[in-house]
């Protein structure tokens, strides 16, 4: 099955994850479905607290412990169910076949070890090689992420590098074992625009070179527009819309997606004019409606019944899925 290239690399079905707290169980990700083809980029976009990071962390079983729990669903990666494999196997996959980059490289890198040592550690865990070979790979990888003078840099500590450089080191570490899937959680949010452009171009280049799939998680629709093949829009723990990138931006259907696209200031908008907004804010996890979760903020006229029953995903255009809330979707 692993060799069947027509199967998506990763298929997530009905994923449910949440946190066991003193106030009871809070469900942060509620029945989420998505899949990703080999070599492609899936963008997951949404605002803070929508569950995009929790979804990604669930995939590799890195939810904060002991509170984080995967409550249900299947995570099929290359023929394996990542939910049921044992810890040793998960350990092999994490950092091996699945690489990860996080938002803040300073907290993800160990400040008391040189970057060379941290890169070598990643190699030594996953490959049967000696230290010399590991060092050679570390230097080579730093060179590929365009760090100048990599032979010298391997001996330096994270604090000696700039933010952009640290993010390059993170990328080097995530890719050193040639993963099939890279999970990039807000990889450029802490960086300046010029550095962001460099980093995204670098990920794109390495993705083509290594034929790797990427899950790009961000709150920035513009980053999604330029880098993703498929997009999933998340709101309050659910995917409300999912489509190819061109289709989604040309023909957004869900009122939330439309609201998001309308509320960003654009370079050609009329200055000083009122921006469109989405009124109100995301309900607290403990106060989520059972039905359409966007309904309390939605400007479409709707009755109270949309708060009761969860809308089904519908596919009005092939490959374009949307949560068909009654406020805009009339079933034939």
């Amino acid at each position: 099955m692993a060799d069947d290239i027509t199967e998506p690399l990763l298929m997530v079905k009905d994923l449910k994850a949440g946190f066991e707290t003193d106030d009871g169980l809070l469900v942060a990700v509620d029945d989420v479905d998505f899949s990703i083809e080999r070599g492609k980029t899936l963008g997951i976009v949404g605002e803070s607290g929508c569950g995009k990071s929790v979804s990604a962390l669930s995939l590799i079983r890195l939810l904060p412990q002991p509170m984080g729990k995967i409550l249900g669903g299947e995570i099929l990666f290359d023929g394996m169910d990542l939910r049921t494999i044992d810890d040793a196997e998960m350990h092999r996959i994490r950092g091996g076949e699945i690489g990860m980059i996080f938002q803040e490289p300073m907290t993800a890198l160990n400040p008391v070890h040189t970057i060379g040592r941290q890169l070598m550690e990643a190699v030594l865990i996953h490959q049967q090689v000696d230290k010399r070979e590991a060092l050679r790979q570390a230097v080579e990888m730093l060179e590929r992420v365009k760090i100048p003078a990599p032979e010298i840099r391997v001996g330096e500590y994270p604090h000696q590098l700039s933010g952009g450089m640290r993010q390059r080191v993170m990328i080097a570490m995530a890719l050193i074992n040639k993963p099939k899937l890279l999970i990039a959680d807000e990889p450029t949010t802490a960086l300046d625009v010029t550095v962001q452009a460099q980093i995204l171009a670098l990920i794109d280049e390495l993705q083509v070179e290594m034929e790797m799939a990427v899950i790009l998680i961000t709150h920035d629709l513009a980053v999604i527009a330029e880098n993703a093949d498929e997009v999933a829009v998340m709101y309050a723990g659910r995917i409300v819309e999912r489509a190819g990138v061109e289709e989604l931006f040309k023909n957004p259907l869900h009122p939330y997606t439309r609201g998001l696209l309308d509320s960003i200031p654009r370079m050609d908008s009329k200055r000083k004019e009122h921006l469109k907004t989405i009124e109100g804010m995301v309900p607290a996890l403990s106060e989520m409606p059972d039905g359409c979760r966007f309904a309390p903020r939605c400007s479409n006229p709707h009755g109270d019944e949309v708060l009761e029953k969860r809308p089904c995903m519908v596919e009005p255009v092939p490959g374009h899925w949307v949560e068909g809330c009654a406020c805009f979707w009339e079933e034939e």
Binding site: S48, A222, A225, E226, S263, P265
Partner: protein, 325 residues
């Protein structure tokens, strides 16, 4: 019209200490000769990458830091060397809004105390009058007066930023220095706060110095925009002019780096190499030409790089490498 704020050749250099005895070994030139004017009722946008000195400029302008050299003239008064006591009445008219509302609001004070504190500090009104004013202010920024007994942690990021704005408005200022006021907010909330700020400006005739790194946001709210790089202003022009006809190579590079929310507009992008250099011992001559290793950078060393007006209202740093002026 007289500017409400005029900054003249302002410098803020921080000593860098080193060695066993921590003797000064150099200086970080965070702000290095900046001149700007802000007129009543306008928004001057200030854009730059992290470490370019934009926040230091704001802090120096309102004397949270004492400048190394230069002048700050606010509403006709030179405040550069004023004592705390002399500054006190002027502080009413110049307020600040910060990036992270979670950190700029005292967690142990109720919202009513936070928003009412300016009245206490300036000894204005009786307790009852203050409470009435706080209620008005909260309503003005779209919050409920009942919220005044609650604490900052009970609010979302957008609401906290509204509390910060209410506090800044308390004393009817003429100028608000906004340091990345919306960068910590989600897009849907960001647009709510930007709308509020634009409404307040229209109704109260406020002037803003609006500091941000998001060029699309700055363009939307600003009348004029200044581009800052390594402690200096590279270009200053009308907001539309600077985006449609940028003259400085750095401005062009910044604009080309902004991602666009349209999958069909994949453009040719000038990718900059490296990061912003350290402001400790910055390069001679044009700092950006140096980063780009421009062939003509050498010619800019020793030149007077003060801004020149290339078109009415469009100022740019003259240098052979980046502007060809």
């Amino acid at each position: 019209m007289e500017p409400i704020l005029e900054i003249k050749d302002l410098k803020m250099h921080f000593p860098v200490k080193g060695g066993v005895f921590l003797r000064p070994v150099g200086s970080a030139k965070a702000v290095d000769g900046v001149s700007l004017k802000v007129y009543p009722g306008e928004t001057l946008g200030l854009v730059g990458e992290s470490g370019c000195g934009k926040s230091t400029l704001a802090k120096t302008t309102c004397r949270l830091l004492n400048p190394t050299a230069g002048q700050v003239i606010f509403d006709g008064h030179d405040i550069t060397r004023m004592s705390r006591k002399e500054l006190m009445p002027l502080r009413r008219e110049m307020q600040m809004i910060f990036q992270d509302p979670a950190e700029s609001l005292n967690p142990r004070h109720s919202v009513g105390q936070i928003v009412g504190e300016p009245f206490v500090v300036q000894k204005i009104g009786t307790r009852a009058e203050r409470e009435k004013k706080v209620a008005d202010l909260l309503e003005r920024v779209g919050l409920n007066e009942k919220m005044s007994s609650r604490f900052p942690f009970e609010f979302s990021g957008g609401q906290r930023q509204r509390i910060g704005i209410a506090r800044a408005l308390a004393l009817n200022p003429k100028l608000i220095l906004c340091d990345e006021p919306v960068s910590a907010l989600d897009v849907s909330v960001q647009s709510q706060v930007l709308n509020l700020m634009m409404d307040l400006q229209r109704d109260m005739g406020l002037a803003y110095l609006f500091i941000a790194h998001d060029l699309a946001v700055v363009r939307h709210v600003s009348d004029r925009v200044a581009i800052m790089y390594l402690g200096k202003i590279m270009e200053l022009a009308d907001a539309d002019a600077i985006y449609n006809h940028p003259r400085h190579a750095y401005t062009k590079a910044l604009i080309s780096a902004i991602p666009v929310a349209d999958p069909n507009s994949k453009r040719d992008r000038t990718l900059l190499e490296g990061d912003v250099p350290s402001p400790i011992d910055p390069p001679q001559g044009c700092a950006f030409g140096y980063r780009m290793k421009h062939a003509k950078w050498q010619e800019s060393v020793g030149m007077d790089l003060g801004l020149v007006e290339v078109e009415p209202g469009h100022w740019v740093q003259p240098c052979p490498c980046c502007t060809g002026v």
